[in-house]
Symmetry: C2
Subunit: 143 residues, 2 copies
DNA sequence: CCGGATCCTAGTCGATACTG
DNA sequence: CAGTATCGACTAGGATCCGG
């Protein structure tokens, strides 16, 4: 009942079992975990949105800001810098007057779109379940 | 050069274009964005790890803590509660003495494993690229 | 127009101590 | 064993001003 038989498991689960065992073998040093860094970045509130916006087409700084109305300049600049540092987007400066800077996804950035779309699709499909579960939980426990 | 032709695009990108246009049509209210809530949760530093641990098999509270050595009781309890609230895990209390509580993924939680594995796989494959880009960026800009 | 630097607030997380 | 309560440190993030 507590064990896990490897046969007849969904492939995703099997993959995770393998991954986890590999990590555990290496003492599972969390700072060395490749997933943490990636997911932390994706979860940092703006990165995903910026990637989605740039997936449409290259954008200038203020164009990104118009596309995401509730982002501050500070966070936009920081998010763009981090994404550039990770090689996900490229920054092209046109020394016009006034200057303009165009951001676009690199090939690496494009390659993120596939898993990202999977996640978004999952979120869309399962949103009713999640919201239902939340409502039920809140209703029962509030007593 | 700035436009985006719908033909001959990767499917992932096309999906995103569609999604984004739908969102924009509704004024893109960020608080109504289903993805934000999901990704925020996944990015909150522990959720993903806990899901991965529970994907191996059901765990008791302290077993999860042993599997993730650097999580505090406080954060573990909170993460488990949030996941339960979202219907991703179920909480089974055995009124033994001393009490024991077992957590396991629900069907909804299991369904997250597929997109999650995609993301992890992507992160593993692309980690050299990301780390290389980081090193290059830091080397050039430090001047 | 683009974005860096500064200041400050508000939420987040960890350590510790305590309860059922 | 399985949590909760309280506190303090840390930090993400918004507002604003400034420079290129």
């Amino acid at each position: 009942m507590t064990g896990l038989r490897r046969d007849n498991l969904p492939t995703a689960q099997m993959r995770l079992v393998d991954l986890f065992e590999n990590w555990s073998a290496g003492e599972f040093d969390p700072s060395n975990c490749p997933v943490r860094g990636i997911l932390d970045r994706l979860g940092d509130k703006w990165t995903t949105l910026v990637v989605i916006v740039l997936a449409q087409r290259p954008h200038r700084f203020s164009a990104v800001q118009r596309a995401i109305p509730d982002i501050s300049k500070r966070m936009l600049a920081q998010t763009l810098r981090d994404l550039e540092r990770d090689g996900m987007i490229s920054r092209q400066v046109y020394p016009t007057k006034p200057p303009s800077v165009e951001y676009r996804l690199t090939e690496l950035g494009q390659s993120l779109l596939d898993p990202l779309v999977n996640l978004i699709t999952w979120a869309e499909q399962r949103r009713p379940n999640i919201e239902g579960a939340r409502a039920a939980y809140d209703a029962s426990d509030r007593a």
